[in-house]
């Protein structure tokens, strides 16, 4: 095991009140030489201020094109046990709900095959098994699969969809984010496991506009729950909040983005036709305010991180879609979108970037969605308007050749 003198820099990160990842690595290192070498290589990185991993050949498991991230040390001479140190992305149970037996099974499999180190969870949502050798990949997968686990996505594939806790514990869930996520995950197994897209494609589902999985910022396809109909007000509970010290005028009404609420000290009124369902008032008074009764989702597309053309946030393409299992309308739309994207995108071009390059106009026509003002913050300011051929007047008698 690494002793203090060998990792003086990392040792300093065992101190302090926040749980220490160094302690975790040291813990694993007690059983696993791989973890020990990881610790030592990391110490070298800390000393030299540079990483020591490199790409290598493509590695994976039978029948799958992804789910494994290959990793090799660039100093196998010094750290032979992490010469290969691949990661397995294990698709998490939707909502990251676990019974302990499931987690223990995962631990046992990983102690058998890997470094004993994990990430719970990766930023896309997978349970990440951090570091094993090429030889262990297949046996590890076999054990996982036999225990009921499957791999998540990597490469130019559909990535592991994720969802907020939603109906599992939250009164604001307008849609069954968990079931939708699970249903899409099962429906699109092939797209997840066999990369055949121009680039990665991500789906995230939040059951209300609070967006607790950051779907609008990180998913090519973003589903956000919303409602139609008036916010249901329980005036007694409003009064109770006021009594308990909530300054309703200041904290609720003044911060309503559309200023569509009035409070006279007794009665809260909401002009629902102006409400944009931002959730703020409901967030502050969950006992007093309930969303309108007709529930559904807004569909948005296009978010991604900055490479290559700057980060994008998802934007509205369907203001309201009913969400009943088996979610045919959503699935059909996803397929149409992915088809158009696959057909038109350059290599490594995300959906948002493709639309940026080709225009919403063409996208909407291709997937058959009607243009609506909810798709935009404001209409165009430049006069560079295209007209479709059928919108142009052909002088009588003169047909376009």
């Amino acid at each position: 095991m690494a002793n203090n003198s060998e990792t003086p820099l990392l040792d300093q990160l065992e101190e302090g009140r926040w749980p220490s990842f160094v302690k975790e690595i040291k813990q694993a290192a007690q059983k696993k030489p791989m973890a020990e070498d990881l610790l030592r290589q990391l110490e070298l990185s800390y000393k030299e201020k540079i990483g020591h991993w490199k790409h290598g050949g493509i590695v994976g498991v039978k029948g799958y094109g992804g789910g494994v991230i290959g990793r090799y040390s660039d100093r196998p001479d010094l750290f032979p046990n992490v010469q290969a140190f691949h990661t397995l992305r294990v698709n998490h149970p939707t909502g990251w709900f676990y019974k302990t037996d499931a987690l223990r099974t995962l631990c046992d499999i990983w102690d058998k095959h890997g470094s004993g180190l994990t990430n719970l969870h990766g930023s896309t949502g997978d349970a990440i098994l951090l570091g094993t050798t090429t030889e262990h990949l297949q046996p590890c997968f076999d054990d996982l699969s036999n225990a009921g686990f499957d791999l998540g996505g990597s490469g130019s594939a559909l990535r592991t969809p994720s969802a907020c806790v939603g109906p599992g514990r939250c009164e604001w869930a307008c849609i069954d984010s968990l079931d939708i996520c699970n249903s899409l995950t099962l429906e699109f197994q092939d797209e997840i496991h066999r990369p055949m897209f121009p680039y990665k494609f991500k789906i995230k589902i939040s059951a209300c506009a609070n967006d607790c999985v950051a779907a609008i910022a990180r998913a090519d396809l973003t589903v956000i729950g919303t409602w139609k109909g008036n916010i249901r007000i329980d005036q007694k509970e409003v009064a109770a909040y006021a009594d308990s010290g909530l300054d309703i005028q200041k904290e609720v009404c003044n911060l309503c983005p559309t200023h569509c609420m009035t409070w006279n000290g007794k009665e809260l009124k909401i002009y629902d036709e102006d409400c944009t369902r931002c959730m703020h008032c409901i967030n502050l008074m969950p006992k007093a305010l309930r969303q309108g009764e007709e529930k559904g989702a807004t569909i948005l597309i296009g978010a991604k991180a900055p490479i290559v053309e700057g980060a994008l946030l998802s934007w509205v393409i369907v203001p309201f879609m009913k969400m009943e299992p088996p979610y045919e309308e959503l699935k059909d739309l996803i397929i149409k979108i992915q088809d158009w994207w696959s057909e038109n995108a350059r290599s490594r071009e995300r959906l948002g970037e493709l639309i940026k390059r080709m225009s919403m106009r063409k996208f909407l026509r291709a997937v058959g969605l009607p243009p609506v003002p909810q798709m935009i913050k404001a209409p165009r300011t430049n006069p560079y308007v295209f007209f479709w051929p059928e919108e142009i007047n052909r002088p009588e008698g003169k047909e376009e050749k």
Binding site: H55, I69, K99, P257
Partner: protein, 353 residues
């Protein structure tokens, strides 16, 4: 042969019985104290949540410890949050305090709810990735050691969400965080002309560059980088590992603020650059810790209740932000990428400071 394409274990089999029977029928919730939630269903039943911080990088032994605790207090039911916290789910409120006691004894911070700083979404860094400009886990640990009380208490004007990504790929939602800690390179990649021909596809590599700084050198089957056009994003290296970009004396960290994701009150926003460069100073990145702390404290002292960091800045103005934080404004803050023009102040409205 074990089966393929079975998908993840069915989440329904993982749900606490109270959740199962009240699924989708929740009525309201309360935050009983930092880290402790009570969700009440229409049936009147309640599920309690105790949220504990986690370094995310967990050993199997630690996971087993967590499982032991969950078995003891929660009938074996727990979950992880979208920010990598651990949530212990239980139906008996009397067990809460002993659960918390045990967690605290074992060094788990309890908190991350309401107007707190929750866990830091972060990435691999030097632990597992091959493109990082900094470590991930180390700076996160150093920052959270310092901001610990903001996790265990709810004393901020609103949620503050911190995220870290170790390179411009920005794994995570760094680009929309209240405070983003972002690893950056600052020198151009150096193509290894002996390796490029084998390892890289030249057209893809050329196409990968946002600023057109990579030119193909067809004769030598390699690529050339135009130093004047390169802004060190590292994307060419991601596509072509034979042109390393890491540079220990110039890699480091930049700080971004004011992003958000929720639609509450204001629309989602990107984080904006406030500190272009801080050195990598392992193991405790003191400059980074100090910078983040300063921003949190200035925000805490000045923002109104419920005002996210970015909302506060939008209200008072960026000139005020730079004045209050004492962060120097430079030409690097002024956008010069493709939509830069949208960020220029096309108005005579501004504050003097």
């Amino acid at each position: 042969m074990p089966p393929t394409d079975i998908g993840p274990p069915d989440y329904k089999t993982m749900l606490h019985p109270v959740i199962k029977s009240n699924y989708g029928k929740w009525r309201y919730h309360e935050i009983l104290k930092p880290g402790v939630l009570k969700h009440v269903a229409e049936s009147g039943e309640a599920i309690y949540t105790v949220r504990a911080g986690s370094p995310r990088l967990l050993s199997t032994d630690r996971i087993r410890e967590i499982c032991d605790i969950a078995d003891k207090y929660c009938d074996g039911y727990l979950r992880f949050t979208s920010r990598n916290n651990i949530e212990f789910l239980l139906d008996d409120p009397r067990k809460i305090d002993s659960l918390i006691d045990e967690l605290e004894t074992k060094n788990y911070p309890i908190g991350g709810t309401g107007h707190s700083i929750s866990n830091v979404v972060h990435t691999q860094g030097w632990v597992h990735c091959h493109t990082p400009a900094t470590d991930a886990s180390g700076p996160v640990k150093a920052v959270m050691d310092e901001l610990y009380d903001y996790f265990t208490e709810m004393k901020l004007p609103a949620h503050v969400r911190i995220a870290l990504a170790c390179c411009l790929n920005m794994c995570g939602a760094v680009h929309c965080s209240d405070i983003a800690i972002l690893g950056i390179h600052r020198t151009v990649p150096k193509p290894d002309n002996s390796l490029v021909p084998n390892l890289c596809e030249i057209p893809t590599t050329v196409a990968s560059c946002p600023t057109g700084a990579v030119r193909g050198d067809m004769k030598n089957k390699t690529v050339i980088v135009d130093e004047d056009k390169c802004m060190y994003c590292g994307n060419c290296y991601t596509v072509c590992p034979a042109m390393p970009i890491a540079d220990p004396s110039n890699d480091g960290i930049s700080i971004w603020v004011g992003g958000k994701v929720s639609n509450a009150r204001s629309a989602p926003m990107f984080s904006k650059l406030v500190i272009p460069y801080l050195p990598n100073n392992p193991p405790r990145w003191p400059e980074v810790v100090q910078a983040v702390k300063n921003i949190v404290e200035v925000y805490a002292a000045n923002a109104r209740k419920h005002e996210r960091l970015g909302e506060w800045i939008e209200r008072v103005g960026w000139e005020r932000f730079f004045t209050l934080t004492g962060i120097p404004f430079t030409d690097k803050h002024i956008d010069d990428f493709d939509m830069a023009i949208e960020t220029f102040r096309t108005s005579a409205q501004f504050k003097w400071r």
